[in-house]
Symmetry: C2
Subunit: 112 residues, 2 copies
DNA sequence: CATCATACCTAGAGACAATAGGTAATGAAT
DNA sequence: ATTCATTACCTATTGTCTCTAGGTATGATG
């Protein structure tokens, strides 16, 4: 039985994919560049990371697809379904809870 | 060649271990309880997670050990070395950079 | 005397991400 | 013409961690 998101982190590629696609549909290759750009090159997820995430999210009904050929090159556009929106909200809430817990521990001086 | 910390997260058990030991030396079993307590039961890392982390950090020179027997039970006390302090600083900085990058992306509305 | 709490430990599985490929078309450069 | 870079898709394998599930042993409690 899968644990979904280990105990806390991981699922960051998924979080970013859902976040960016929430604003507008994109195709995989575009997303890879978009994440790099949105993070000012601080985060780079190669295609080998992003494509499997897209496929998994589509399989789970979080994303829907639309195929289009542009300049002889075929693109697969992904957009977020209602299920996907819920999934994003849950992921984000989880991420924020975990982060604040860790931040508190790290910043709190211990007794004695 | 090992990547140390994937690209961003993971290494949270390590981060917390170093953080708590920075304040005072502790033995493994104690640490497990301390993390649970410090997080108000929101985070639990079982012994099977913590012990391997301790061993790896010791192997890397980030922790030093001291053995002591109390009430017939033998304890291994860990404390942070200068190397360990550096490692914690680096881990924390990395964690914070990544988090702020992700937070920015998540919170930033995209153009059109 | 059995059970629980303390205290140590490791092996194996499972979940990701990361690397390293591979296909194919277009367009620019030589 | 042909090579190379870019666009655009894809998957299989590896690697790194976390997690579960055990196992040992002592001391305290009922």
């Amino acid at each position: 039985m899968p644990t979904t998101t280990s105990q806390f982190l991981n699922g960051v590629p998924e979080l970013l994919v859902l976040r960016l696609l929430r604003d507008r549909e994109m195709y995989g290759y575009e997303l890879v560049e978009a994440i790099r750009a949105a993070s000012n090159d601080k985060l780079t997820f190669a295609e080998g990371v992003i494509y499997p995430v897209l496929h998994a999210l589509e399989r789970d009904g979080a994303l829907s697809t639309r195929r289009q050929t542009v300049n002889g090159r075929s693109r697969v556009y992904y957009s977020v379904t209602p299920t996907g929106k819920d999934r994003f909200d849950a992921l984000l809430a989880h991420w924020q809870r975990v982060h604040s817990t860790i931040a508190t521990i790290v910043e709190t001086p211990r007794h004695a």
